[in-house]
């Protein structure tokens, strides 16, 4: 198909002067390829639209079967009125039951449309559904599930979409393919008049040319009905915030308990021992100065150990270089302490807020520890940048891969900690490596030198 279009539009306007103007074959070919792809996508969308329409009509029929039977019985003088009347109620109940099951089925074409709208139409659409109702980790009963379905506005918007998409959407989606088929028929039809051939081929070219825009329009139409309403978005957000807040509080509390324990068993205990040693030295200093001297040295060594423990503890709470210099230098300092070779590329102009900085630092620290422990990597590449209010950190190693967030709590822990800042973690780790972890945390940098981010 692309062959016939590449011939048509261009060769008319060659300037008399000669070779200044060239036919832009490359861009024409590109346009044609995009057009064909868009037409194909449209065809797939129309399939989805049809299935949605059929499902919703089926549902309507199921709901109407009971009332239909009642209406049927009320026609006077009908012979089977009685049986039909008896059947009406069970039929109505059964119809409603099946219809409620269909409500879930109808979500399938709608969800698929949402997922495809991003890559195919350039209009990404988020999932609007309320989360599944659960009671204590188990699936909820049928009553609650029905209530969950019926009270979700997205359910009704899906139905509306199935109807609208069944007519307007279907037309939009199938138009490019239709025009192309028309053009094809115009060419191959044996006895068509010349003007008819020209007309149909022009229509096909137009269809091909307009197909990407039509797909975009289709995407917007879908978005208007399939995207979450503002209210649904807020509800989802509230839920997410509640979850991450609880987790953040839990992690915070656990961290404080750990610090308390470390202080209690470490520095505090050593200070007590030091006090006792010093007291003992005081007792014997007159009678046995040599032994007292030994005790004093012992106390000094204990103080060195206590300091070392405090240092390690502080490093775990808030690393000094992070406080002094910020994320990039702190990660560099970290990489100086790591046995593998680390290539650090940082493009940060300014500093993220302290909590974000700290979360990002400990995430990288944990990842590096993982790499050292499990991956047997020789080299690791760390890339830190901030674009469009998003802090992105990539950690890639040339180890043997196979990292799985489902196993081991390390990656999960990082994910949880980042979630408190609406941050996300993506991991790609095929067996045999390499492992690439990407983290994204929304943040605004403070006091940049000059540039903004």
């Amino acid at each position: 198909m692309s062959g016939e279009t590449t011939d048509t539009p261009s060769s008319t306007e060659t300037p008399a002067t000669g070779d200044a103007w060239q036919v832009p074959w490359a861009s024409i070919r590109d346009r044609a390829r995009k057009g064909v792809a868009a037409a194909g996508h449209g065809l797939a969308f129309s399939g989805l639209a049809l299935s949605g329409l059929v499902l919703s009509l089926l549902m309507l029929a199921l709901i109407l079967v009971g009332p239909g039977l009642i209406a049927y019985t009320s026609v006077p003088g009908h012979t089977h009125g009685r049986t039909a009347g008896l059947l009406a109620l069970p039929a109505f109940v059964l119809g409603l039951f099946l219809a409620s099951r269909l409500l879930l089925v109808i979500r399938q074409p709608a969800s698929l449309t949402r997922r495809l709208s991003g890559p195919w139409c350039g209009v990404p659409i988020a999932e609007p559904y309320l989360p599944h109702p659960r009671t204590g980790g188990r699936k909820a009963g049928p009553g609650r599930r029905l209530a969950w379905l019926l009270t979700d506005p997205a359910t009704w918007r899906d139905l509306l979409w199935a109807m609208v998409n069944g007519c307007v959407g279907l037309f939009l989606a199938i138009l490019p393919t239709g025009l192309l088929v028309l053009g094809f028929l115009g060419v191959v039809a044996p006895y068509a008049a010349g003007y008819f051939r020209v007309l149909t081929v022009t229509a096909a070219v137009l269809g091909l040319w307009a197909a990407p825009s039509l797909m975009r329009g289709y995407g917007y139409l879908a978005q208007s009905m399939l995207a979450p309403t503002q209210q649904a978005e807020l509800a989802l957000r509230v839920r997410h915030l509640a979850e991450t807040r609880t987790e953040a509080l839990d992690t915070g509390a656990a961290e404080i308990r750990r610090i308390e324990r470390d202080l209690h068993d470490g520095a505090q205990a050593r200070l007590v021992a030091m006090g006792m040693t010093l007291d003992a030295a005081g007792q014997i200093i007159d009678t046995n100065p040599e032994a007292a001297r030994a005790l004093l040295f012992e106390a000094r060594d204990a103080s060195v150990k206590a300091l070392a423990e405090l240092r390690a503890l502080v490093r775990g709470i808030h690393p000094p270089v992070l406080a002094d210099r910020g994320l990039a230098d702190a990660i560099q300092a970290l990489s100086l302490d790591t046995p593998q070779r680390i290539h650090l590329a940082s493009d940060l102009h300014g500093r993220p807020p302290a909590p974000v900085e700290s979360a990002a630092y400990f995430a990288v620290s944990e990842l590096l520890a993982n790499v050292t422990k499990h991956a047997e990597a020789r080299e690791t590449w760390i890339d830190i940048r901030c674009t469009d209010g998003m802090l992105r950190i990539g950690v890639t190693d040339n180890g043997h891969g196979g990292a799985d967030p489902a196993h081991g709590s390390g990656l999960r822990g990082i994910e949880r900690r980042l979630a408190a800042f609406d941050g996300v973690l993506a991991i790609s780790s095929p067996l045999g490596g390499p492992t690439a972890v990407t983290m994204e945390i929304p943040c605004e940098l403070s006091l940049p030198k000059t540039s903004s981010c």
Binding site: R300, S303, V304, L307, A308, R311, V314, R315, P320, V321, A323, D324, R325, D329, Q332, A333, L336, D337, T338, P339
Partner: protein, 214 residues
């Protein structure tokens, strides 16, 4: 020997002053911030400056920056930086600020006053004093290095002490061996690490540190 001290905590400043005086060093100024340090260095041209990393007003790495600035204005000024923690990143920056006359020690090291004063004198004399913890971490990082793996345990001890900036005599005293034995070890180390041997203590330290950092 004339010393300038920059340390913001009064107790530590006072303690340092008294300890150094007790060892016969002259404290010409004891200040509590970076700006005063620079002024004192310019006015008194001391033999060595002892600087705390955390100083007002930012209480971050002010001391490192002040030390680097002081060495910028008075090239070759020996500076000994003290800190509650040691970071290789800062050690590297200090080492890069000129050849020799640099020290970077944990504050805990002042507990052993004889060793500490020895470090101060070494730095004032243009030598190097790197904290054992810095060296230990550098060595830990190089565990996978085959050349270092080829060193005998004794040679590794000598390497660590050498990297701290100690002379052959000091190493011999520390390990309770003869200076000739130390010289033999160092020659062997330099051979195994493929480094250019050097009689100059300071050049030797820098070569070893550069090797470990690479």
């Amino acid at each position: 020997m004339r010393v300038v001290i920059a340390e913001d905590l009064f107790l530590l400043r006072d303690g340092l002053t008294r300890m150094l005086q007790a060892h016969g060093l002259e404290i010409t100024a004891a200040v509590d911030n970076g700006a005063d340090l620079l002024a004192a260095v310019a006015a008194q041209a001391p033999d060595v400056a002892i600087v705390d990393v955390r100083l007002p007003p930012t209480f971050t790495d002010e001391g490192i920056r002040a030390a680097l600035a002081a060495r910028n204005t008075a090239p070759g000024l020996p500076v000994l930086v003290l800190s509650q923690y040691v970071e290789q990143l800062y050690a590297r920056e200090l080492l890069a600020s000129g050849s020799g006359g640099i020290g970077y020690l944990l504050k805990d090291r002042v507990f052993d006053s004889a060793q500490f004063v020895d470090a101060v004198r070494r730095v004032a004399g243009g030598g190097t004093a790197m904290d054992p913890e810095v060296i230990a971490r550098l060595l830990a990082r190089n565990t996978g290095n085959a050349s270092i793996g080829a060193l005998s345990p004794r040679e590794r001890e000598v390497l660590a002490l050498m990297a701290e900036g100690r002379s052959n005599a000091a190493i011999a005293q520390r390990l309770v061996i003869t200076e000739r034995a130390v010289a033999k070890h160092t020659a062997s180390i330099f051979g195994k690490l493929n480094l250019q041997p050097s009689d100059d203590d300071n050049r030797r330290v820098l070569a070893v540190l550069a090797y470990l950092e690479a």
